[in-house]
Symmetry: C2
Subunit: 141 residues, 2 copies
């Protein structure tokens, strides 16, 4: 079967050629076979691997963590529980962010609600609220 060039692999996975080589240096992709002239040769397996990295990244894992996940796969002593624990940690972190983000949205939303959008900035309820809630100009008393 025809091997993929680095460009074809990159295109298939939706990343840049440089990113592929970068991931290889980082150990996220195994060192591929080379053609007689030194060109990297990839298989469909590599496309899957690269997509795995992308998906894991989308889901909030750092490249380092993804490397660990990939390493877990080939360690016979690793348990499924290890992988699950990592996912649980990420979920807890995501929950924290969700909570904080909701608070932030609510705060900003309440400010915008009070603003008619009319008149000069001097009477803007948003600014008023931000000044009383979040701090005035830095004079102290």
């Amino acid at each position: 079967m025809k091997p993929l060039s680095i460009g074809q692999l990159a295109k298939a996975a939706g990343v840049s050629v440089e990113t592929v080589r970068f991931y290889e240096r980082k150990g996220l992709l195994p060192k591929p076979r080379r053609s007689a002239s030194g060109y990297r040769q990839y298989s469909e397996e590599s496309v899957r691997r690269l997509r795995f990295v992308q998906r894991a990244k989308d889901v909030g894992f750092t490249l380092g963590e993804i490397g660990e996940l990939l390493a877990l796969r080939t360690e016979p002593n690793a348990s499924c529980a290890d992988v699950r624990a990592r996912a649980a940690t990420k979920i807890a972190l995501i929950d924290e962010k969700l909570t904080a983000l909701s608070r932030m949205k609510r705060a900003l939303g309440q400010l915008a609600e009070r603003c008619t959008g009319e008149g000069p900035v001097s009477g803007c309820p948003i600014l008023d609220a931000l000044e009383t809630d979040e701090g005035k100009h830095d004079a102290n008393s």
Copy 2:
């Protein structure tokens, strides 16, 4: 009310002294008044400001975006409508982040749900799910 030293401010807001000075350079904190000997003097307002920055950061805003949020207060020639539009933009951005995070959480949660935490890593539903997209089993090498 006695002013806070940079160390007291940092402690009160849970950041390092260096971070405070860094934020000042970045314009996220106004340049504070100085004592006769050049020491920075802060008020409680600064504590709130610094905490606001931390919360916004936790929620995924970049320091640049946080600067914009803070700038809502002091837009010199902006109409109230301008200010409101900025707030609305930020809210839309928050919504995007909320959506992305929810998706992320749901994806990870579904994976973890299917994982018993027992057995070896081979056959881990999390890794399987991350790997799988179209061609499930491996083809070549």
